[in-house]
């Protein structure tokens, strides 16, 4: 029998009307479960006049109140440590994790039961199998294996698939590169930033990664996995294909993955989630091809029901037909485009870190960079990009600095960018979510009051 390219062939190729029927049925079940088990949610649903019986189509989803991270945090503060959000006794949990904390005051803390934890791996299986990972593969995880959920589910997914798993926690970058080679890993999992970091390290110790057995990279944790220039650079340095995925601790696992066709975006796992895209200000739905904020409703983790959660992620949804893989799951073109709160306004121009990165990555000679915002003379916002350009034969750093400044300015309505070369190794390196933007601007007219508070 021919091997399926899909993890769940029936669901992944289901006609659109059947996907929607499946979602409505699961939504009804989810609302019924939540009403019964979580008084906190039940009160909100009741106030909005929502009952399981009243769910008849996907339009009814919009009657369910939105849930925010602030509400979740507040609920945790009022009833520590998990808030009044658990739908099952804590004793049934086998895992504890918390958010990595790129935003927010306190991390969100979550629990998973045995069945939920297995489901978390199941979602990663859609992604790994869909990108061509098979039992014969040897998979290396460049991951710290802590309380941040990160690649935990992916690790168990690979065990489920039957791969040989190499857990690369608590290792130096050099040791990781050496183990990838010595164990003949065929798949490497890391953040996009760390994939580049390992490539740098390999060069510095004289290793040719492009000649290694690595054929696939599975990227997660940052939007950069779908930035074409960054992805191209990673693929060139590794001589391998790279796939983007994205997940969140709030649901415990991934909700989108890139298939082997690499359509320039990520399929939504629509048999396990309902994803909506809305205007972040008005909350109104936006259509295919329009930028908006994604909301997630998850059918997976029963222990902590998630209904219409505001993710703050910016996405552009396009129909499944944008890909030739045969899946009927819609796509987020360009993956996660950034965060609603990522955007910086500099002298009237919108600046998105992702857009800056996509330009910086066009210059392969740049090893690392940082975006720095500051207030000059106490009265004018300035933006500069600090770059590391190692001295190599034939590399003209002055030319690169000039061209980069021009490209950045042209892409930002003529906004002036300072571009400075800094000492090699002086900028921070990241293993998990990279934080390359530093905002030191002050409130103009004050003696130095920070505009952005930590």
């Amino acid at each position: 029998m021919k091997e399926s390219p899909y993890w769940n062939p029936r669901h992944e190729t289901m006609p659109r009307d059947q996907i929607e029927a499946l979602q409505v049925r699961k939504l009804k079940n989810l609302v019924a479960w939540t009403e019964r088990q979580v008084p906190w949610h039940a009160a909100r649903l009741k106030a909005a006049g929502v009952t399981a019986d009243s769910i008849r189509s996907l339009k009814d989803l919009r009657r369910i109140p939105l849930m925010t991270r602030d509400e979740w945090m507040q609920a945790q503060l009022e009833k520590p440590p998990f808030g009044p959000l658990l739908a099952a006794p804590e004793e049934t949990a086998i895992r504890y994790h918390l958010t990595s904390g790129t935003t927010g005051r306190i991390p969100l803390q979550v629990l998973d039961s045995m069945k939920d934890w297995e489901w978390i791996a199941e979602m990663w299986c859609y992604g790994f199998w869909g990108f061509g990972v098979r039992p014969a593969d040897i998979v290396f995880f460049a991951f710290s294996y802590g309380t941040f959920v990160g690649f935990w589910g992916a690790h168990y997914a690979c065990e489920k698939i039957g791969c040989l798993v190499l857990p690369g926690g608590n290792m130096t970058t050099e040791a990781r590169v050496k183990q990838i080679l010595s164990m003949k890993a065929t798949v490497v999992c890391s953040t996009p930033t760390y994939a580049l970091r390992m490539a740098q390290e390999a060069k510095s110790i004289g290793v040719d990664l492009a000649g290694s057995p690595v054929k696939r990279l599975i990227l997660s944790g940052e939007p950069a996995g779908s930035i074409p220039a960054t992805k191209r650079l990673i693929e060139e340095e590794w001589g391998a294909k790279a796939a983007d995925t994205a997940g969140m601790t709030e649901v415990g696992t991934i909700m989108i993955f890139e298939c082997a066709q690499q359509p320039g975006g990520t399929h939504i796992i629509e048999d396990h989630y309902i994803e909506e895209v809305v205007d972040p200000v008005t909350g109104d739905p936006v259509g295919y091809g329009e930028l908006g904020e994604r909301l997630i409703t998850s059918f997976g983790r029963g222990m902590i029901p998630v209904l219409r959660y505001r993710t703050r992620d910016l996405v552009v949804r396009v129909p499944a037909t944008a890909c030739t893989c045969g899946r009927t799951f819609d796509i987020y073109e360009g993956g996660i485009r950034g965060r609603v709160d990522d955007m910086k306004l500099v002298r009237g121009t919108n600046v998105y870190p992702r857009a800056v990165e996509s330009i910086v990555r066009e210059f392969k000679e740049i090893d690392e960079f940082r975006i720095h915002l500051y207030t000059a003379d106490g009265r004018q916002d300035e933006i500069e990009v600090l770059v590391e350009i190692p001295d190599r034969d034939g590399v003209n750093a002055d030319r690169i600095l000039g061209e980069l400044a021009t490209s950045l300015s042209q892409a930002h309505e003529g906004l002036r960018f300072g571009v400075k070369k800094v000492e090699n190794g002086s900028l921070p390196r990241f293993e998990l979510k990279a934080k390359r933007l530093q905002d030191d601007r002050i409130v103009i007219g004050t003696a130095g009051e920070p505009r952005v508070t930590a």
Partner: protein, 67 residues
């Protein structure tokens, strides 16, 4: 056996579903299982739940049996 979408399951699929249902029943009803029996059966149920869910049998949540 038909799933919630009205599709008939294959013989192999039906066998997997029956296996899941049998394990859940044993875990609900048997009070005398040894630790190695109960905990391994729970792991199997957690995995088979994914199959039953993926086949649209709407297995619900099974926290009451410890999974």
């Amino acid at each position: 056996m038909k799933n919630a979408m009205g599709l008939e399951l294959s013989d192999s699929e039906r066998t997997l579903v029956e296996c899941y249902q049998g394990l859940v029943r044993v875990l609900q009803e048997s009070k005398d299982l040894a630790p190695f029996e109960r905990r391994n059966a729970l792991k199997a149920v957690a995995a088979l739940w994914q199959v039953v869910n993926g086949l649209d049998l709407d297995p619900g949540n099974i926290y009451e049996i410890g999974a």
